[in-house]
């Protein structure tokens, strides 16, 4: 018995470049980056002060249920928004609600959610500052005055798995689930694990989500101190590249077995063909120069999908703009594709690095690009870096070689993920 085909019946995305996949693709194709000055705090005197912030961030527009706003964080708002968008696009809720009453519970038990989450942030910890000021270094006083100074729901607001819990409650999803807190690869792993759950028959439908809002003072400062942030512009694979830039947002895909989609006559956007994942084990920030982990992840993904390198129509690279990552990624792509390099692009230059959401939002945008039969250009690319020689990159849009995209994603702890998707 062969594993069921995994199809995509809905997508959702939000980031600085737009609040739905087509709008984000349009921004990218316009050649204008949505990265700009940070507005969430006064960055006068800051060594790095640019990011891809969601313009006019309005919690009510993202999550209509206002009661929820007190219980969740900014990162949860964007995650819930993207998940809801993908679920709405898939139309499965209307189908479920029209089922005979005794079929609804089994349907919910067979519907899961897998989320890649950034985990903790620093801003939530500052909620203790008023208490610390009141206690003035006196720990017993800190304990006594706790309830008068800190929101009783503080711990719940801080849960890294809030999007999972609240998506479940909102849509009554009761099946297989996970919250993956694996730095940048979390969102891509959510897609891979959702695909595997469907193949293994653990569920018939799974919404995969990735979300993160890393643009906060202490996070920006740390990334700057460890040398990962660019001064002004994210220029992947470029000789003038000097680092990455944060973005914020979320991406989501509604994945189903082909049978689940067929049963309700759902329109299918595309298919998840395979995934691969490998780690390098060199420490939190270390990356091997030869791209070893990425080479193995791509190899596993191709093998998993039963595809050859020649089948890949375009590569959406991690392309985060840091010299070390870009050069090792280029090395990996040379190893895999040699002289038969498909068109390579990347999207972070246009909306920043969404960390846990990066790989999944880029998968969503890749599907939109394949549908439009275009490999968007990297508009900030002026001069290919010597270390990235051999890549087929361009500042201009080009046609893809086929309707299959290889989407790459890399994270802290030397983690590397590769995902193969196609349009219907």
């Amino acid at each position: 018995m062969s594993a069921p085909k995994v199809v995509i019946t809905g997508t959702g995305a939000v980031c600085a470049a737009g609040i739905e996949p087509q709008a984000i693709l349009d921004t990218i194709l316009s050649g204008h980056s949505a990265i700009g000055p940070i507005r969430q705090w006064d960055t006068t005197g800051w060594p790095s002060n640019r990011a891809g912030e969601i313009a006019g961030f309005d919690p009510r527009k993202l999550v209509p249920d206002r009661k929820l706003h007190k219980l969740i964080r900014r990162t949860d708002l964007v995650g819930l928004y993207a998940a809801s968008s993908a679920i709405a696009a898939s139309g499965f809720v209307a189908y479920r609600d029209a089922l005979a009453p005794d079929q609804v519970a089994p349907y919910n038990d067979r519907t899961g959610a897998i989320v890649g989450s950034g985990g903790g942030n620093f801003q939530n910890q500052y909620d203790f500052f008023p208490l610390m000021s009141a206690a003035n270094g006196d720990m017993p006083a800190f304990g006594r005055e706790l309830a008068d100074n800190v929101n009783p729901m503080w711990l719940l607001r801080t849960l890294p798995n809030n999007v999972l819990g609240h998506v479940g409650i909102q849509y009554n999803l009761k099946g297989t689930n996970a919250c993956i807190t694996n730095h940048s690869v979390g969102g891509t792993l959510a897609v891979i694990e959702a695909m595997e759950a469907l193949r293994a028959g653990e569920a018939d439908r799974v919404v995969a989500v990735g979300h993160e809002t890393p643009i906060e003072p202490q996070m920006v400062l740390y990334y700057h101190r460890v040398g990962l942030l660019a001064q002004h512009t994210l220029r992947p694979f470029d000789a003038a590249g000097d680092g990455s830039i944060f973005g914020e947002g979320a991406g989501a895909l509604m994945l189903e077995t082909a049978a689940s989609a067929r049963d309700r006559g759902a329109s299918v956007i595309g298919q998840v063909l395979g995934g691969g994942y490998a780690s390098e084990g060199q420490g939190l920030l270390a990356i091997r120069a030869d791209g070893d982990g990425l080479v193995r992840a791509i190899g596993l993904a191709l093998e998993d999908a039963g595809l050859d390198p020649a089948d890949v129509g375009m590569v959406v690279a991690h392309a985060n703009g840091t010299r070390q990552s870009d050069a090792s990624e280029a090395a990996a792509l040379r190893t895999v594709f040699g002289n038969a390099m498909p068109p390579v692009t990347g999207f972070k230059w246009a909306f920043g690095h969404l960390i846990a959401a990066a790989g999944i939002i880029e998968t969503v945008v890749a599907l939109a690009a394949l549908k439009a039969n275009v490999v968007p250009g990297i508009a900030t690319l002026a001069s290919l870096d010597d270390g990235c020689a051999g890549l087929s990159v361009s500042a201009q849009p080009r046609p893809p070689r086929s309707n299959i995209a290889l989407v790459l994603c890399r994270g802290f702890a030397g983690t590397n993920a590769a995902l193969l998707v196609r349009t219907a």
Binding site: G119, F142, P160, T181, E202
Partner: protein
């Protein structure tokens, strides 16, 4: 699915509030010796709860790599030590040749900032009650890369994969109190899929800090029996009034069954089944009728090819909160039917307290030990029966019996439910843990 790869538990490691290794912890679990005591890690006298189950007298002994430990917070140190114990116990480690066939799956804690770092930042640029971002630019902790690394969600994974040279699938999961169980479930699937042959799996956590205790005190989740810390955790007892916060780590080495047998590994148990559901009820509660946990338990049994009649021991989630224990009892009754009178149940949180993200992993190790040793640890502190929790609880003395199969439940804030089923090696291939034919 006859060709499905099986998974063997071949090494175990524990750092818990009742022992910094497996043997010490096991003795305490059989005796029901509680790890509860007044908090010593900071002056908790002002909090509504000032007791916890701390790991005691801990110092990394097996892992002495000072460069690595510099990047490790308290919970990472527990993890490194317990993982090292498990690797040594299994008698196998990744080599350059097979590193890519090793995976790592861990349940990690919530990654809150260290209190001392936060207090420094507060004193420097937060005295007004709000952060002054400009002040952050010359704040100590906010410019210290070590503080950054120790606080990253992926740091535990980074330290473990580096320490042991693991180059395959490596992942951290966080579903609150279900994290450890979900890590075991993930590891099981990785080996079944054939992506890796061996996985270092576990969980680690430490929330016994002013911030961690605050979070739970604010929710009134902790027992406030401050004068009787050793009796504070009494799962399924009618007078239970909240959980006892613990800390620590539990790790296992998992191997594809045939490979483990081929190298003559000592097999504790088969990791046989995983169940995984969402309650989708409320963020903090399970539904009173056990909906959610019921599906996870059914799935785990089905996944293991087992029925309730095969299970001899349930290591309950059993947090000692009024709601959880009632809901879990209802779920066990619903799943086990008439077998509920036969199947032995205990919550080892009665002695160790609640290890949060590490709980499911530590309790998974407990199940592997129960099978391997033919001993069932007790549900300590049980005195007053609760009619809503009429289970066959192991009280007073541990049971010494053959344990064919075990079930371990872990339910988390957010509604994730994990259920892990293990099987005695003889029930798999007729050979005991050492490989001798029966």
């Amino acid at each position: 699915m006859t060709s499905q790869r099986r998974v063997a538990v071949t090494g175990v490691g524990l750092v818990t509030p009742v022992g910094n290794d497996v043997a010490t912890t096991w003795d305490a679990l059989l005796a029901g010796r509680s790890g509860g005591a007044p908090i010593t890690l900071f002056d908790a006298s002002g909090f509504s709860t000032h007791i916890a189950a701390e790991v005691k007298g801990f110092r990394p002994t097996l892992v002495d790599d000072r460069k690595l430990l510099k990047f490790a917070n308290r919970s990472h140190r527990f993890a490194l030590e317990a993982a090292e114990q498990a690797m040594r116990d299994a008698g196998i480690r990744p080599t350059a040749e097979d590193a890519a066939r090793w995976g790592c799956a861990v349940g990690t804690g919530m990654m809150t900032a260290e209190y001392d770092d936060l207090a420094q930042t507060h004193a420097h640029c937060g005295m007004s009650g709000e952060l002054d971002p400009v002040g952050l630019l010359d704040d100590g902790p906010a410019n210290d890369p070590l503080v950054f690394c120790r606080g990253q969600a992926a740091e535990g994974l980074a330290l473990l994969t580096r320490r042991f040279g693991i180059h395959g699938y490596a992942t951290s999961v966080h579903t609150a109190c279900a994290s450890g169980g979900q890590a075991f479930g993930t590891a099981l699937k990785l080996i079944r899929r054939g992506r890796v042959d061996r996985v270092l799996a576990g969980g680690f956590d430490s929330m016994i800090s002013p911030i961690g205790i605050s979070g739970f005190c604010l929710l009134s989740a902790l027992s406030a029996d401050n004068s009787t810390p050793q009796r504070a955790s009494r799962p399924f007892d009618a007078t239970r009034n909240g959980f006892l916060l613990g800390e620590g780590a539990g790790f296992v080495v998992l191997e594809e069954w045939e490979m483990a047998r081929a190298r003559g590994a000592r097999i504790y148990a088969e990791l046989a089944g995983d169940g995984n559901s969402l309650s989708s009820y409320r963020i903090t509660d399970s539904p009173p009728d056990g909906d959610g946990p019921i599906q996870a338990m059914h799935q785990a049994l089905g996944d293991a090819g087992a029925t309730p009649a095969d299970i001899d021991y349930i290591n309950a989630h059993g947090t000692s909160t009024p709601m959880n224990d009632r809901s879990e009892s209802a779920a066990i009754r619903a799943v086990f039917g008439a077998d509920v009178a036969r199947v032995a149940v205990s919550s080892t949180k009665s002695t160790m307290g609640h290890l949060i993200a590490a709980a499911g992993a530590v309790e998974g190790v407990v199940c592997a030990l129960a099978i391997a040793r033919g001993e069932i640890p007790i549900n300590a502190n049980y005195r007053d029966p609760d009619p809503d929790c009429d289970l066959n609880l192991v009280v007073d003395a541990p049971r010494r019996q053959r344990v064919r199969m075990t079930m371990s439940n872990s339910f988390g804030f957010g509604g994730s439910n994990s259920c892990i089923v293990m099987r005695h090696p003889e029930e798999v291939d007729g050979r005991d843990g050492a490989g001798a034919a029966r």
